[in-house]
């Protein structure tokens, strides 16, 4: 009958609905350990990158989910196995082999090959390092290097010079230690995959000539070099009296908190945390330097790693995921992160005027340390087990005065026994 008017409006609403759903941006789930709302300068940078991407186009909308770095990998595995994994995943370079084995990410060759040859070689860490079986599994977006952090104010108050060798480090730590303050601290807990422990252990291990594993994947951290390092850490506690056994319950986070609160004067910390650690500290309090070596001749090798981006295995929009990754790697995004204390991964970015500022110069110093003495850690797929076992061995020695050789041998044997590849 006279149904035409409401039929027309119904049709109109229907078409609007369709148009709306077509015009509405497709959501892309992005999982990373960074947050967008913490006082950490990187949060602000990340926020600007995500908002910038969302504004720059209307097809996709990136929605971020922040998960603590100690748990993000397990969550990714759990979710992807349930078919609910994210579209873009932030994967830490040390854990890339694990993600590949757990089938949480898919190769990005189809997209990476679209980059020009110049673009493909414009990386501080070559793209080849992130390939597996000839396929590009992830692309790096930042570089990081581990450094010696020291509280200039605390050292100056005690009229001490920053150490140039590990032995000097022990002595300086000993002189700085009081019942409230530790001269040197490390995050030796097994929490968060034992990350705190190996971040301190590995540069010293390399400096002593050893390595975590051999080419076949068998643990070799119980070599003479490993024993030398663990004995040194024990000496820090007993001989130099510069560190206390309470470090076994500190995670890397606790170690940084302690440094900020002034209850630890020196730590080995990552370049990526410097900006956040400086928040709330007096200017100049946190000074970074190369990690001292066993002799004054050269510093310990720089442990280099990086965060990468990969496309999730359960993603239904790999095209959109790649678009976001490209935006993340673009020069403006890299500069935004650089101003937040992150070392860019694209070589061309280092020509930006920002790198002439004092903060930029510090970043250049780090990049130089990385380029001159930098090494990537060769990590097996079950790296979490290795790092936990190593942390435990360190705890046994620091806490129970176990023999370093025996502790390391036990940890290596345990790891090798269950290591399948």
């Amino acid at each position: 009958m006279h149904s035409k008017p409401w039929l027309a409006s119904l049709l109109g609403a229907f078409m609007l609905g369709i148009a709306g759903s077509v015009l509405a941006a497709t959501p892309l789930k992005f999982w990373t350990f960074l947050t967008v709302d913490s006082p950490d300068p990187r949060s602000a940078a990340l926020k600007s990158v995500i908002e910038g991407f969302n504004k720059s186009q209307t097809e996709y909308e990136v929605q971020i989910q922040s998960i603590n770095y100690g748990r993000i990998d397990n969550q990714v595995i759990q979710a992807t196995a349930a078919g609910e994994g994210p579209d873009i995943i932030n994967v830490y370079s040390d854990l890339l082999p694990m993600h590949i084995a757990a089938k949480t990410i898919v190769p990005v060759d189809a997209y990476a090959s679209r980059m020009s040859a110049a673009e493909q070689s414009d990386f501080v860490m070559p793209l080849k390092l992130f390939q597996e079986g000839g396929k590009q599994m992830a692309v790096p977006w930042e570089t990081r290097v581990w450094l010696l952090w020291y509280r200039k104010d605390l050292l100056a108050a005690a009229k001490l010079q920053p150490p140039k060798t590990l032995e000097e480090l022990g002595e300086v730590a000993g002189k700085l230690t009081t019942p409230q303050v530790m001269g040197f601290a490390m995050g030796a807990s097994t929490g968060n995959l034992g990350a705190g422990a190996y971040e301190t252990f590995i540069p010293l291990l390399w400096a002593a000539g050893g390595d975590l594993t051999d080419a076949q994947g068998k643990a070799t951290f119980n070599s003479e070099a490993g024993v030398k390092v663990l004995s040194y850490l024990h000496d820090l506690e007993t001989k130099y009296q510069g560190m206390r056994s309470t470090v076994v319950s500190m995670t890397a986070d606790d170690m940084v908190s302690s440094f900020k609160a002034g209850t630890a004067a020196m730590v080995i910390g990552g370049s990526y945390r410097v900006a956040a650690a400086r928040v709330g500290l007096p200017a100049d309090a946190l000074v970074t330097a190369s990690i001292p070596g066993w002799t004054a001749a050269k510093p310990s090798p720089a442990r280099v790693a990086g965060q990468t981006l990969a496309i999730g295995a359960s993603s239904k929009h790999p095209e959109g995921a790649w678009k976001f990754i490209q935006y993340y790697l673009s020069a403006p995004s890299q500069i935004a992160f650089a101003k937040a204390g992150v070392m860019p991964v694209r070589l061309s970015v280092y020509k930006d005027p920002f790198f002439q500022t004092p903060q930029g110069e510090e970043t250049q110093r780090w990049a130089a340390y990385a380029r001159e003495s930098g090494r990537l850690t060769r990590t097996p797929t079950d790296f979490a087990k290795l790092s936990e076992g190593l942390a435990r061995a360190i705890q046994e020695v620091l806490l129970k005065n176990a023999d370093p050789k025996k502790a390391l041998d036990a940890a290596a044997a345990e790891y090798n026994a269950q290591h399948k590849e």
Binding site: L34, D37, A82, G83, E84, D253, V256
Partner: protein, 279 residues
């Protein structure tokens, strides 16, 4: 004379004892509350200061406005209420059947229910995760509600059965003589008379779901489906715990259960103690 002094000493000791017990019970909350009301600069101080000076709600504002805690809170409210409804609905019927109907296998079902509550949750967490994935209920409220209800059914059935049995059978029979069907007698007579039992049951479910960690941890992954306990656990920034915010978030999470507890604690204690005696 001697007994009078003994009485006074006894009372004094009891008073001291009571104060000690209360102090111990309240210590963590007191310290958490104090921390949550401190300005940021006073939180990481050593020796620790007991009182904030001056107290401020800044941490609470930060938590409520800048973090996802409101989402976790909302999720917990939704899931708790839904699980409560489902668990009670299912359990009152089963409990009534156990109390009043005689049917073959009744004792077997009772014992079987009891037996299932002996299965440690941790042992079936992974299978539950698998099940939820296959049933397409992973990362959903429905999945959580189903599991929470199911886990509470055994104890609710046992608890409510006791209450239903204590309702005098004559009342029901009188109603049925008046023409009431069995079903209606149940809804109109037995249920209203079992309010204390229903209340105790409700409180148990609310506490269980609101405070749960493992199920929520295994069956949900996205922020929009995260519940409070998991939310609190993940409330750790990458750069050290922000204790002011964490304690504020904890206080916020405590408000509903503490409120429920204080309002209904007498009923709850009566219900529990009665249930304990009846077994």
């Amino acid at each position: 004379m001697r007994s009078a002094r003994r009485l006074v000493v006894g009372n004094a000791l009891a008073g001291v004892g009571a104060l000690a017990v209360i102090a111990i019970a309240l210590l963590p909350v007191a310290w958490g509350l104090s921390t949550s009301l401190k300005p940021a600069s006073q939180i990481l101080s050593f020796p620790p200061k007991w009182l904030p000076d001056p107290p401020t709600l800044a941490s609470y504002v930060q938590v409520w406005e800048q973090s996802n805690l409101p989402i976790y809170f909302r999720n917990s409210v939704i899931v708790t209420l839904a699980a409560l409804v489902v668990a009670l609905a299912v359990s009152v019927h089963a409990a009534y059947a156990m109390a009043r109907f005689r049917f073959r296998g009744r004792n077997f079902v009772l014992v079987a229910l009891l037996a299932t509550s002996m299965i440690p949750g941790i042992a079936i967490l992974v299978p539950l995760y698998d099940l939820s994935v296959h049933a397409k209920l992973y990362d959903s409220f429905a999945g959580l509600v189903i599991v929470y209800a199911a886990w509470n059914v055994p104890i609710l059935v046992w608890l409510l059965r006791g209450f239903f049995e204590s309702v005098p059978i004559e009342l029901e029979e009188a109603a049925r003589i008046d023409g009431c069907s069995r079903l209606r007698a149940f809804y109109k007579i037995v249920l209203p008379m079992s309010q204390p039992g229903l209340l105790a049951a409700a409180i148990m479910v609310i506490m269980f779901v609101w405070n749960d960690f493992l199920i929520a941890f295994a069956l949900t992954i996205s922020e929009n489906r995260r519940l409070l306990s998991v939310g609190l656990y993940t409330y750790i920034s990458n750069y050290g715990v922000e204790w002011g915010q964490l304690t504020a978030a904890t206080m916020i999470a405590l408000v509903p259960v503490v409120a429920v507890f204080f309002l209904l604690q007498r009923r709850l204690v009566e219900g529990l103690m009665a249930g304990a005696l009846k077994g």
